[in-house]
């Protein structure tokens, strides 16, 4: 079987979520190709060609693919889909937007957000906000999949020497066009790939108080997350949201501050290696998944935590 992975990138660098998607592809196919669709994205194609286990990199370049809309990207994917029995993309907003459009055009029932490949036609995925783990089998000849990238190890970024094959991108559809992107510039690590994540919930109380979360994140070199309740309350931007309807994270260390632990939040972080919860409510459900729970007022505990971490760092440096 042959699989095609649609690469996520920004025309300069390959997003590491692509590496985990390649791993998922290799679990079901002997031959894995990667499609890089973009503009001035040669460097991305070269990066993709070095991924271990990749056979070919298909490079489609056109000005309208610089910031591609799903309509145009779909046409490009369809021109190269024919040779592959499986099409995969990361279950990020990029892949979630694109792949169902591709699947419908191919008359394939897509399987979203897979966490395990059991057989080339059988996969595991969660439903009901992570409450139920299902096994799904497809009867279609072809499969279209999005991949929960925290559930698969990243393929080695070096070691491969795939051929780069240019492919022609179809013209723009004219149905939709990119206007602009508003990105929150940040020096912090990216949330979905960070080694440490510090998240705040409704208990943080206000947007201003989130500065406390930021201080702890900086002390730990962490990315910042938030519960849906905190986002709904306007304390934090939506791209910080961790959970069923936001991002899925699985860092080495997840620190939940003032988060009660609604099932929708747990769905996004319960695969973290070590979970720390700080909450003044001893009954909060977050404590049921926490490796280390501290029942305390976050406004007292977090500053002390920052101070003690800084002290260890100073002593380590000395």
């Amino acid at each position: 079987m042959s699989a095609l992975v649609v690469a996520q990138h920004d025309n300069r660098r390959l997003d590491p979520v692509t590496l985990a998607t390649v791993t998922a592809a290799r679990r079901l196919a002997e031959e894995v190709d990667v499609l890089v669709a973009g503009s001035g994205a040669r460097a991305v194609a070269e990066e993709a060609a070095r991924i271990e286990g990749v056979r070919r990199v298909l490079l489609a370049e056109a000005p309208h693919l610089e910031n591609p809309v799903a309509e145009d990207l779909t046409e490009t994917v369809l021109t190269v889909a024919g040779d592959h029995e499986a099409l995969l993309a990361p279950a990020t907003t990029f892949g979630k937007n694109l792949m169902p459009r591709v699947a419908a055009r191919l008359d394939v029932a897509q399987i979203s957000d897979i966490v395990e490949v059991l057989a080339p036609d059988t996969f595991r995925r969660y439903i009901y906000a992570g409450n139920v783990l299902t096994t799904v089998r497809t009867r279609d000849g072809r499969r279209v999949l999005t991949v929960r990238t925290t559930a698969f190890d990243r393929a080695a970024a070096e070691g491969g020497a795939a051929e780069i094959v240019p492919v022609e991108a179809p013209p723009a559809t004219g149905l939709a066009r990119f206007v602009r992107r508003e990105v929150h510039a940040s020096e912090r690590p990216e949330l979905t790939s960070a080694r440490v994540v510090v998240s705040g919930g409704r208990g943080v109380g206000s947007r201003e108080n989130f500065a406390l979360i930021e201080k702890l994140a900086d002390a730990l070199g962490a990315a910042i997350g938030a519960s849906r309740a905190a986002v709904d309350a306007g304390f934090a931007p939506n791209d910080w949201q961790v959970g069923q309807t936001g991002k899925i994270v699985a860092p080495e260390l997840y620190v939940a501050v003032g988060i009660s632990g609604a099932i929708q939040h747990l769905a996004g972080m319960k695969d973290s290696k070590i979970i720390v919860a700080i909450n003044k409510d001893p009954e909060a459900p977050i404590f049921e998944v926490a490796d280390f729970g501290l029942v305390d007022d976050l406004f007292r505990a977090v500053p002390e935590l920052v101070e003690r971490i800084e002290k260890i760092k100073r002593e380590g440096a000395a």
Partner: protein, 249 residues
């Protein structure tokens, strides 16, 4: 402008579902049901467009067992003009739902379809994109702001990196994200009024669509449980544990 709003009836997101004893499904008998929260946001947005004079008519559609009529009554009470119930006992999956909705669109000819980005039961996040693909229409997924400008929709999309703004030609399919709006509660007079609004009943067969699912859900299981952790008594103890685990220091 005419707006079509597809809505799904799901288990109330605050209720924990149980797996059937035979592991072949989820037991939803006697569970509290609700409108999918993202679809509620879609209904609210469509009604606001009507209130602003942008839309002339808001039509709701739902697919499922006959009790979807209850959900459609809620949509009518929120302010939709009429509703279509596509009745089937089959648990319809996204591709078939998109094909049913395409048939409804062919009949109703809306200028805009607004629907939730995902249903909180199967968490697939597919139907809107699939519907747009089948219709050959543009899509604007995960919307947090919608403006109609010069016969196009300008949509701010919630993406992993922040916000992406795109323009789509109409007709189009837009899927909603959480921050688009806060849905209203239906008032008592509007609930009474909704009882007189028309709900048309049809079936997938009437619409020429076979709703048989293509994906087979062969097993349902509890997710792996995390080992219970410990309570620490102080920040000092917490830091000591984290140093011991090698995650700080």
């Amino acid at each position: 402008m005419k707006i079509l709003v597809p809505v799904k009836r799901v288990v109330d997101p605050n209720v924990k579902v149980r797996i059937r004893a035979d592991g072949r499904g989820v037991d939803t008998t006697n569970l509290k049901m609700a409108m999918n929260p993202f679809d509620e946001i879609a209904v609210e947005e469509a009604i606001r467009m009507k209130e602003r004079g942008l839309a002339r008519e808001v039509v709701a559609v739902s697919i499922g067992e006959p009790r979807i009529q209850e959900t459609l009554r809620t949509v009518l009470a929120m302010g939709a003009d009429r509703a279509i119930a596509v009745e089937t006992e089959v648990a319809v999956q996204p591709l078939e739902a998109a094909r049913i909705l395409r048939a409804v669109v062919a009949r109703e000819e809306p200028d805009l379809v607004i629907m939730g980005k995902q249903a909180v039961d199967d968490d697939s996040n597919q139907t809107g994109q699939m519907l747009a693909a089948l219709l050959g229409w543009p899509q604007a997924t995960f919307a947090s702001r919608i403006e109609i400008v010069d016969g196009e929709a300008e949509v701010a999309r919630e993406v992993d990196e922040g916000i992406e703004v795109i323009r789509v030609r109409l007709p189009a399919v837009i899927t909603t994200d959480l921050r688009l709006n806060e849905p209203r509660y239906a008032s008592l007079p509007n609930i009474m009024k909704a009882k007189r609004k028309p709900v048309e009943r049809t079936t997938p067969a009437d619409l020429g669509v076979d709703p048989t699912p293509r994906l087979e859900y062969v097993e349902f299981a509890e997710p792996p449980k995390r080992q219970a952790g410990i309570r620490v008594e102080s920040v000092e103890e917490l830091v000591a544990k984290l140093v011991e685990k090698g995650v700080i220091g």
